[in-house]
């Protein structure tokens, strides 16, 4: 290999952005086409520095917008390279048109999405609006709760996405600033071990194979379009979760760190449970532990894989619970929250009698405090004791002014 290796300590102090950049370096990305946007900028900045310093053999394409960034990634991936980029918020919104091209063309691109609120009003801080916005774009979506996971899930995402049976692009989400700019101890893999895990990139039907020319991203009207979408949906619904599970197992053997499709915490005998994403999962775990000392059998279900949505695993995790709170960090804008809807969908025909309520929290970087969660668990316990939802179905927590609820 023509590039230099980097000596890492077993534990390095990295924030989520730098952890992701290191993962991209260790995967030896061929092409990064990027347009920087807060809070994801340091990921591609980090990669560019590794490239300039000779730690990667690749190409950094500077483009004029996020739309061009993802377009460049699609071209490079179709040509036969290992490709990644990073973005946030409005950048993702600008990319959204091309995201559908990437998933429809079955190109295993990895996008590090540092979750941030969508304007207006303009806001650079973390919430899950952007993650939710592209949830139907056909990308696999992983969610990291801390820098360690942002590092690990990049390797896992490459290995899943590039599998020739899957060949779908994947997003690795991390919370803007809360994960991306908070430095923590990150257990590292050595360059050789990490590259050995993801393996050499094996292109399939690449455009640069001039002996076997192919046309990518063709036009299919009503005669084939449906069939292509059906196949893409089938592969997402049936192939991806088993593959992710297999890669999680493989990664555990390598690193000792165990990931699950759905991260259950104290769920074995829980009466009340909170379902959430991102950094809130770790706060909720702290509070659940505290609630247990106070006699409330509290549990937490963290969503690790948002797409494909793990209906079976969610239903299994929540089967014996009496009251559930779905925590959505995105403005529902005229509906119930996404997690509320999807958990309801997962449970409706299972015979579960769990009471489900939806909470909207933390928009634009507003803190979700332990106090909020303590109150929430108490409400859930009150629901469980009463056998009915005693408060309104949808509530905004942490918003200034009178309590807000519409359902």
């Amino acid at each position: 290999m023509a590039f230099d290796k980097m000596e890492l300590r077993d534990i390095e102090v990295w924030d989520g952005n730098f952890a992701a950049a290191q993962a991209l370096r260790q995967c030896q990305i061929d092409v990064v086409a990027a347009y920087p946007i807060t809070p994801s900028t340091p990921i591609v900045e980090g990669y560019a520095k590794f490239l300039a310093d000779g730690y990667v053999e690749g190409e950094f394409v500077m483009v004029e917008s996020e739309h061009a960034a993802m377009s460049g990634c699609i071209g490079a991936s179709a040509a036969g390279g290992r490709v990644a980029t990073a973005t946030s918020s409005q950048g993702l919104a600008l990319m959204s048109e091309t995201l559908y091209q990437a998933s429809g063309m079955r190109l295993p691109i990895i996008l590090n999405l540092v979750n941030r609120a969508l304007a207006s009003p303009l806001n650079v801080n973390g919430d899950h609006s952007d993650m939710y916005m592209v949830r139907d774009s056909g990308w696999i979506q992983f969610d990291a709760y801390n820098p360690q996971e942002a590092y690990d899930l990049n390797f896992i995402a490459f290995k899943v996405a590039e599998d020739h049976d899957i060949r779908l692009p994947a997003i690795v989400n991390q919370d803007g600033f809360m994960t991306s700019h908070t430095a923590q101890g990150v257990k590292t893999l050595s360059d050789d071990v990490a590259y050995g895990f993801v393996g050499e990139f094996k292109p399939m039907n690449d455009m640069l194979d001039l002996d076997h020319p192919v046309t990518h991203g063709v036009q299919t009207e009503e005669d084939w379009h449906f069939e292509h979408k059906a196949r893409q949906h089938r592969d997402l619904m049936t192939k991806v979760i088993p593959k992710i599970e297999a890669v999680f197992d493989e990664f555990e053997k390598l690193s000792g760190r165990k990931y699950n499709i759905v991260e259950k915490y104290d769920m074995d005998d829980a009466d009340v449970a909170v379902v959430c994403l991102g950094t809130s999962v770790e706060t909720a775990r702290e509070v659940a532990k505290e609630m247990r000392e106070n006699g409330i059998k509290a549990g937490v279900v963290g969503i690790r894989v948002l797409r494909p949505f793990p209906f079976m695993q969610i239903a299994e995790a929540l089967k014996d619970v009496k009251a559930i709170a779905a925590l959505d960090r995105s403005s529902p804008n005229g509906a119930a929250g996404m997690l509320f809807n999807e958990i309801a969908g997962a449970l409706y025909n299972t015979g579960s009698k769990a009471l489900l309520s939806g909470y909207v929290y933390g928009l634009g970087g507003r803190d979700l405090t332990k106090t909020h969660l303590r109150d929430l668990y108490k409400e859930l316990q009150a629901n469980a004791d009463a056998g009915k939802v005693t408060t309104q179905l949808q509530q905004f927590i942490g918003v200034r002014g009178p309590k807000l609820a519409f359902l």
């Binding site: 039907n205 076997h212 020319p213 990518h216 063709v218 299919t220 069939e227 893409q232 089938r234």
Partner: protein, 131 residues
């Protein structure tokens, strides 16, 4: 192709050009090339047409303009002689008619259901306004 199910397609909205490697494809006539089954050559776009070009060989001077300008390689030409239009791949754009230099034109657009014999029988005569 038309009878394939969703599970039989190449994944990735991708069309494979040929079965196996391709050499000197420019020297092989279209109908003799080893096109793969998943190729736009095997797929007809005839149903996109509202108007079709009708070719009248009586006026054709084999200038090959139509062959050069057709965006879908739908003009069939043999030894630099215009033979006709490949109606499976013609989308009815009318560019061939536009570039035809003869007077009267040797290609004209007619609505899709027009009878070709009738169109040829009633072909317009020389337009004295031109030249």
């Amino acid at each position: 192709m038309a009878n394939k199910g969703w599970d039989e397609f190449e994944i990735g909205a991708m069309l494979r050009s040929f079965n196996g490697p391709v050499k000197d494809v420019a020297l092989i006539h279209q109908e003799d090339r080893a096109y793969s089954e998943n190729n736009s050559f095997t797929a007809s776009v005839a149903d996109w047409r509202i108007e079709k070009p009708v070719f009248n060989k009586d006026f054709c001077i084999d200038c090959q303009f139509c062959w050069i300008y057709c965006p879908d390689i739908s003009i069939i030409s043999r030894d630099k002689k215009m033979v006709g239009v490949d109606m499976d791949h013609c989308k009815g754009c009318g560019i061939c008619v536009e570039v035809c230099p003869t007077n009267p034109k040797s290609l004209l657009m007619y609505s899709e259901q027009t009878d070709e014999e009738e169109a040829l029988a009633a072909w317009p005569s020389k337009d004295e306004g031109e030249n």
